[in-house]
Structure formats: structure tokens, C-alpha cells
């Protein structure tokens, strides 16, 4: 088939004596993939979201990275040692070059450590706020801590190291904030040390990557592609059609209703696995009056009975079987049971609309109240449909919810730290990037101020000093059993107080062309360096 095409092309080229025919390289292998949402800012500190971080992890690298089984392995740091509990020393890799040809040195690490903690960065918790980063020599950096932290580098795979001189030359010394407003010029460019270079980027439309010839890690270059093209295809049906017709090689997520069709199609397949992300509803428990509700002068969510009523109103089994077509595991906890040894000991509050009504009446809302719900509509599997289902379930206990589903850029820009948590009730999914419970206790359950200092992804602003205290102990505890017990205590409080309404862990589902071989990591990252495509 291919032979015939080549011969034909050659004949045509000869016959027409045209210069344009036949000059196209015969074996340009392009790997194309499509996601439901946008890749917006290329600044790796703008958005703490698995998809954007994963897309940029092909361009930028951290001091560490994770292997196929999510184990932490060295990357830009060749090795590290804990000199004493308050001092970690990292030995940087020599001979690493940024895409613009500059050498990677300790100055870049010091610069990145400062930049990642500036206002506008959503990744500030990658480093303790009081940690000092000291350059020892060009290839050695010390991290001096104020208190011990055994999991200091657990999330550093997604803390990208940026070039100091490039950032200064491009006006990128401050991070691009996720406000849903216009991007700075530098946020449309990228200069990392990773295996791929971004050749062109149109936010929300298309991003083209090419391999970086000067990548240091020859051993890990397992791909055979000459180009990677990412496009946003929002409509599920269009995304499936694009995969079936061969227009793209990988789609994510696969609409649950089309899984069978993709499996039955001879040229495509569905890759599934458990995902680590927990989808949950958050409730504003911080403000004295909700921003978007008809209840004035008080905040109904400050009453645990109201939160409990909301949770009891959600028929999780119906969502699982009807909206998710059984491709989800209902969750009692904010963390996947795969990531916490004692996760199975917790039970979800049962679905009980009658009791929910009673609780609402006891709390002083016998006729319910009105409320606006904010949800993303292109981030998680069936996000909008789940929120819609929730509005009708809540309607049955008398709570009239107006749903506002938005694309993720607007949603995160409003409901997240950059927008000042401009929401009362809504949906968020969270994967602890350290794959550890402490991440949840810190990011989702830690007390925060209006700007998000403390627990930046605690959209609802839940706050219990006891949980914060337990989190502190969890951070420094080294005995596994004792640590798990502390985590248990903290989770118990979160569940008893219904700090969140955890829904489920969605199943990971990629639709993949059979021409493509690519490992599916449980954190849902698409790693180009491992992509193999045959023609």
C-alpha cells in the first residue's frame, strides 16, 4: 500500500516535473490527540490541573519525575541527600540544555523556586513558603527548611524548572494568573528542557510539538514520532468521529456512551484503568452570607445539617449507573482507596432524601432555598451531566439550584484562587499530585484566607484547626502505621462534618487508534516520549 503510494508519487513528480510534489518527507510520523478542554496558558505555574500540567510535562521538566508506575525518579536532579532534617541537598544534572540552547544551572532552580511561590502561581504549595533555596555551586542547590518535611519533593515532578535568563528576556518573571482574562505574550511561548518543543500554540485550538534534538535523556526517548499535534474537540460525538475516521490517534476522555462503539471498531480500542482523581462537590462554608443564594444574612452551609442533607440528597448509585454507565467508583473519601491503605474502612453517607428533607427543616429551611451551582463543562467525564443530575436530585428536597456550567478556563478563573472563590456551590475533581493523603489535607481541607493562602484548592473554604493540626503531624510522622492512623483521624472529622460531598473516582478512558502504542499512567498524563506509532 505504502509502496504503491511512493511509486505513484515518484511517477507523478517525474511526470509533472513539478517541484512541489514528492518533496514531502515520506516518513513524517505525526501523533495527533484530542482532549475535551483547552490548553490555554503555556506558563507551567498558571493552572494546577492535571491535564495542563501533563501537556506541559512534555516540554518542561522538574528536578524529579515519575516513572511508568508513578515512582519518583531523578530528572534534572541527578541525586539528592538529606543532610539533616532541615536541609536537603540536590545535585543537578550536568550537560542539560534548555530549548533555546542555554545551559541549565542552579540559578534556574533558585529562580523557579521563587517564581513558583509568587502571587498568580497556582503551584505555590510545591514548596513550603518558608523554605530557603540556596545555590551552593553551579550544579548544587540546598533547600533549607523551617520544619522537617519528609515528602518535600513528592510533587516536584510537576514543578517545572524554567530558565532564568529566558524568563527575564521575555518578561516572564511573574506567573501568568488564571483569571480567565487575556494571556500575556510570554504565556504563549515555552522554553523547557523536556523532550518536546512547542512549535506553535493557539489557545483553545491547536498546539504543535516537535521533538527536541538536544534532550539529555537519550535512554528514555522511546518514541518514534516527528510531530505531535494537540487539538481541542469539545463535542463528545465529534471527538469520537475524529477517532473513528483516523483524524486523531487518541482521544480523552471517551464519552462513556460511545465506549462500546470504539471497542467494536476494528481500528480503535479503549484503554481503561482506575483513575486517582476524586470528583466532589464543594460548599462555601467560609463567607457569612452566600454570594449566590436567596438566603440573606446567614450562610446555610455553615450548618452541618444542611451539608449532610445535600449529601443525602445525592443518589450516587443513579449517577454511577445512568450518567457514568458504571465507569465510576463511588467514594466516601476525598482520596482514591488505591492511595490510602485504610480507605476501605470508611462508608459513604447513604442516599436518603426523606432524612435530607428532615435535616433541612431542622436547620430552618423546611421549604429549601435557592442557590447557584458552578460546574466545569469540559474538564471531567460527564461533568455537566452530573451537575444537572444533582440539580434535579436537590430539587426533590426543595433546594432550587440554578446550574451554570462553563468551560474550565472560565470556571477555574472564577471559582478558584485566582477568582477569589467567586462561587457558593460547585464541582471540582482532585488528584493528589503527591499520591498521598497529606496533599488532600493541605490543599483541599486546610484552612485558607480569601486569597487562598493555606489550602488553595479548598474551594469551599472549610476550616477546622483540628484537621490542620493533624495534617502537621502527618507531615512529619515517619512511622507508616502511626501516620495512617493520624490520616484516619483527619478523614474521620472531614466525613463527620461533611466538609465535602465526595462523588466518585471516574474511570480513566482513552480512545486509541490501534496504530499507536502508548502506556497509560494512572495520573492520566499523556507522555509523548513513550508514544509509538506505526504507519
Amino acid at each position: 500500500m505504502r509502496m504503491r503510494k511512493v511509486v505513484l508519487a515518484a511517477l507523478l513528480a517525474a511526470g509533472l516535473s513539478s517541484v512541489t510534489l514528492g518533496v514531502e518527507p515520506a516518513a513524517a510520523t505525526t501523533f495527533r490527540y484530542a482532549f475535551q478542554g483547552d490548553l490555554n496558558s503555556l506558563d507551567p505555574y498558571t493552572l494546577n490541573e492535571t491535564f495542563s500540567l501533563g501537556a506541559l510535562a512534555n516540554v518542561y521538566e522538574g528536578l524529579t519525575r515519575r516513572d511508568e508506575n508513578l515512582k519518583i525518579v531523578p530528572a534534572l536532579a541527578e541525586s539528592w541527600e538529606i543532610v539533616d532534617p532541615l536541609k536537603w541537598r540536590f545535585h543537578l544534572r550536568k550537560g542539560v540544555k534548555f530549548h533555546n540552547g542555554e545551559d541549565f544551572t542552579a540559578d534556574d532552580v533558585v529562580f523557579s523556586a521563587e517564581r513558583v511561590r509568587l502571587p498568580g502561581s497556582e503551584l505555590a504549595t510545591r514548596l513550603p513558603a518558608d523554605a530557603k533555596v540556596v545555590k551552593v555551586d553551579d550544579h548544587t542547590v540546598d533547600f533549607v527548611l523551617a520544619s522537617p518535611n519528609p515528602i518535600l519533593n513528592a510533587e516536584w515532578d510537576s514543578w517545572s524548572i524554567m530558565s532564568k535568563s529566558w524568563a527575564e528576556a521575555n518578561g516572564a518573571t511573574k506567573p501568568q494568573p488564571q483569571t480567565g482574562k487575556e494571556l500575556n505574550n510570554f504565556a504563549l511561548k515555552a522554553n523547557g528542557t523536556g523532550p518536546f518543543v512547542i512549535v506553535s500554540h493557539e489557545p483553545g485550538v491547536k498546539t504543535v510539538y516537535k521533538p527536541f534534538a538536544g534532550w539529555w535523556d537519550k535512554a528514555n526517548k522511546k518514541h518514534n514520532v516527528d510531530e505531535v499535534v494537540f487539538t481541542t474537540i469539545k463535542s463528545p460525538a465529534t471527538r469520537v468521529a475524529a477517532l473513528l475516521s483516523g483524524e486523531v490517534d487518541l482521544i480523552e476522555p471517551v464519552p462513556v456512551q460511545d465506549m462500546k462503539r470504539i471497542q467494536d471498531n476494528p481500528t480503535t480500542d479503549v484503554l481503561t484503568g482506575p483513575e486517582l482523581r476524586t470528583i466532589h462537590f464543594f460548599m462555601d462554608q467560609k463567607r457569612d452570607e452566600l454570594l449566590y443564594s436567596n438566603v440573606k444574612g446567614k450562610n446555610p452551609f455553615k450548618d452541618v445539617r444542611v451539608r449532610k442533607a445535600f449529601m443525602e440528597a445525592i443518589d450516587i448509585e443513579a449517577i454511577k449507573s445512568k450518567v457514568m454507565r458504571n465507569l465510576a467508583v463511588p467514594s466516601a473519601l476525598m482520596i482514591s482507596p488505591l492511595l490510602y491503605s485504610r480507605g476501605a474502612e470508611f462508608k459513604r453517607l447513604a442516599y436518603d432524601p426523606a432524612d435530607a428533607k428532615k435535616l433541612l427543616a431542622e436547620a430552618g429551611y423546611p421549604d429549601g432555598f435557592e442557590l447557584t451551582m458552578h460546574c466545569p463543562n469540559d474538564r471531567y467525564v460527564n461533568d455537566e451531566a452530573i451537575c444537572q443530575a444533582a440539580t434535579s436530585m436537590l430539587a426533590r428536597i426543595g433546594v432550587k439550584v440554578t446550574l451554570q456550567a462553563q468551560p474550565k478556563a472560565q470556571f477555574f478563573g472564577r471559582a478558584g484562587p485566582a477568582g477569589g472563590y467567586d462561587t457558593s456551590f460547585g464541582m471540582l475533581g482532585w488528584t493528589p499530585s503527591s499520591f498521598d493523603s497529606f496533599n488532600i489535607l493541605q490543599n483541599n481541607a486546610g484552612c485558607r484566607d480569601e486569597k487562598g493562602n493555606g489550602g488553595p484548592f479548598n474551594y469551599g473554604g472549610y476550616c477546622n484547626p483540628k484537621v490542620d493540626e493533624l495534617a502537621k503531624q502527618v507531615l512529619v510522622e515517619t512511622n507508616a502505621a502511626k501516620r495512617d492512623a493520624l490520616i484516619y483521624d483527619a478523614f474521620k472529622i472531614l466525613i463527620d462534618e461533611v466538609a465535602f460531598i465526595p462523588l466518585h473516582q471516574q474511570a480513566l478512558a482513552w480512545g486509541v487508534s490501534k496504530k499507536v502504542k502508548i502506556p497509560q499512567r494512572a495520573d492520566n498524563s499523556i507522555i509523548f516520549a513513550w508514544a509509538q506509532k506505526q504507519d
Binding site: A237, D258, K260, K322, A385, A395, L403
Partner: protein, 318 residues
């Protein structure tokens, strides 16, 4: 028809007389001669009547979220295997009865379209009358603005106005006001045709003796315009209005399909097609099929009626 203008005719009287004339006119005759037109009329009238009566004939109220049961979601039409007799043409992904949603949705779509055409007529006819009658700088300005707008497709104008309204009002204040935003944005997209047609007719009428006579005896301009000129330029307006109604239905559906129209909890033909679109590949065809058929059928029927009206009213085509 409008060949013998009566200088004393009031606006309402002129309309009444015109309707009376229709009965024995060529209009009714040509209507009975074409079966395509008759089918279209029956179809359009049925859909519109059913939609207007949605509150009384729909089996459930799709706006009442509390009545939805997720366990009923995506049931096929009643005659198929797995169908439920409660849901004649099946349910959507939220367990909403599709028939009820369709009736309410058609009502919403027709309501928006009628109101939008009303806005367009009001704006277009007023501007057309003024610029045709007075001429001058105002005329130049209006007509150049109309020329510029004509270079854009109507849907683009509607999207632009819609986007601007959303940006100005903000999501929160917009809530509940989506209906009017749609009406205004579609209305603003369609005024040009009316303005141009009315202006052209007004230019002709202005020089007629009855207008000149009225001016001579000192009738104020606004009275001449509304009392004398307007009734005589309305003929073409009715034709454009009918054809525009079909376009407005499609524009509303397009906007709602694109997600900038009504919120998903308020069915309109466009939002129903948008929801169904997600299930196009998965065998649950009824979610998109029925709203799609109604949308296409309604637009086609109204269009055929408009075409017939144009031909019947145009003496040159007789």
C-alpha cells in the same frame, strides 16, 4: 391590492379591510391550488398550536426538576424494546420526557422567534419609514449602517450582540434574562431587510398625490407616516416577516446549540438538539431525532408558506 390608497384610512381599518379582501382574493385561490402549501400550513399550524398548548397537553412539566428521575434516563420510545409507556418518544439523558420537553421547547423557540421578528419589524420599519420619508443625512447614515450589517451573516450579528450582552450583564445578572437577550440579538440581526424594503416603498409613496395633499393641508409628518404611508408599505413586510420567522427559529436553535442560548434546564429546540448531539454516535438516536425533525419541519413549512405568500402577493408572478 394597495393600488387605491385611501387618504382617510386609519392603520387598523386598513389592516381589517385587507383581511376582508383576502377572503375573495387571489390569495385563498392560490392556497387551495397547491398541496405542498397546504401540507406545510397544516404542519406549521399543528406544531405551533401544540407548542402554544404545551402547558395543557404535555404529559409532564420538564421545567420541574424535582419530577425528573435519573433512573428513567435514556429510555427509548415506547414502541421499542425497553421503552416505557409513560414516555411516548423516550427520555433524554436526565430522565426528562422527550415529548414534554419537545412541546415546551418548541413553545420557547417559537416565542423567541416571534418576539425577535417583532423587534426586527419595529426597528426596521421605523428606521425605513423615517429614512425614506425625510432622506438626508439620517437616511445616509441608516442605509450605510444597513449595508455594513448586510455584509455579515445574520448568525454572526446575533452572536456578536449576544456576546456583548453577556459581557455587559455578566453571567449572574443574565440569569432569567436569557430569553430577552436572545430576542434582542436575533431581532437586531434581521432589521436591515425591513428597513430597506420599507424605505424603498416609502420613497415611492412619498411622491404620491395623497401624501402631497396631506402635507399641503398641514397634517404633521408623524401622522402622515403612520396613517398614510405605513399601511401602504406593509404588504412586503408581511412576506419578509414570514420568511424571517423560519430564519429566526433556525438562528435561535443555532445559538442554543452553540451553548450561548438558553441554559440546559430550559428546553428549546436548539438545546434539545445539543443534548442529543452527544448521543449521536451511541445508538440513542431518539434524543436528537425528534427535536431535529420538528426543527427542520417547522422551518421548512414556515419557509414554504412565506414563499407562497411572496408569489401570491406579487402581481408580476401571477
Amino acid at each position: 391590492m394597495a393600488e387605491t390608497p385611501d387618504p382617510d384610512a386609519g392603520f387598523a381599518a386598513a389592516i381589517l379591510r385587507r383581511f376582508a379582501a383576502i377572503a375573495e382574493s387571489h390569495l385563498l385561490y392560490s392556497f387551495t391550488r397547491s398541496w405542498v402549501v397546504m401540507i406545510a400550513a397544516v404542519f406549521a399550524v399543528t406544531i405551533i398550536a401544540a407548542a402554544l398548548a404545551a402547558q395543557w397537553i404535555a404529559p409532564t412539566n420538564p421545567l420541574d426538576l424535582a419530577s425528573l428521575d435519573l433512573m428513567d434516563s435514556r429510555l427509548p420510545p415506547a414502541w421499542m424494546e425497553g421503552g416505557d409507556p409513560r414516555f411516548l418518544i423516550g427520555t433524554d439523558d436526565q430522565g426528562r420526557d422527550l415529548l414534554s420537553a419537545l412541546l415546551y421547547g418548541a413553545q420557547m423557540s417559537i416565542g423567541i422567534s416571534l418576539a425577535a421578528v417583532g423587534v426586527a419589524i419595529l426597528l426596521g420599519v421605523t428606521l425605513g419609514l423615517i429614512s425614506g420619508y425625510f432622506g438626508g443625512l439620517f437616511d445616509t447614515l441608516i442605509m450605510r449602517a444597513a449595508d455594513v450589517q448586510l455584509t455579515f451573516p445574520a448568525i454572526l450579528t446575533a452572536l456578536l450582540v449576544n456576546g456583548a450582552a453577556r459581557a455587559l450583564l455578566g453571567d449572574q445578572r443574565l440569569q432569567g434574562g436569557e430569553f430577552w437577550v436572545l430576542v434582542v440579538s436575533i431581532g437586531l440581526a434581521f432589521w436591515v431587510q425591513y428597513a430597506r424594503t420599507v424605505r424603498a416603498s416609502t420613497l415611492q409613496e412619498r411622491h404620491r398625490d395623497y401624501v402631497q395633499a396631506a402635507r399641503l393641508i398641514g397634517v404633521p409628518s408623524w401622522k402622515i407616516l403612520t396613517g398614510h404611508v405605513l399601511p401602504n408599505v406593509l404588504g412586503p413586510v408581511t412576506v419578509i416577516a414570514t420568511i424571517n420567522l423560519a430564519l429566526a427559529i433556525i438562528t435561535e436553535a443555532t445559538l442554543s446549540f452553540l451553548g450561548v442560548g438558553l441554559p440546559p434546564s430550559h428546553p428549546s429546540l436548539g438545546t434539545l438538539v445539543r443534548v442529543g448531539n452527544d448521543f449521536l454516535m451511541s445508538g440513542e438516536w431518539w434524543i436528537v431525532f425528534f427535536p431535529g425533525v420538528v426543527l427542520a419541519g417547522l422551518a421548512l413549512a414556515v419557509n414554504i408558506l412565506g414563499d407562497w405568500l411572496r408569489e401570491a402577493l406579487n402581481p408580476k408572478l401571477r
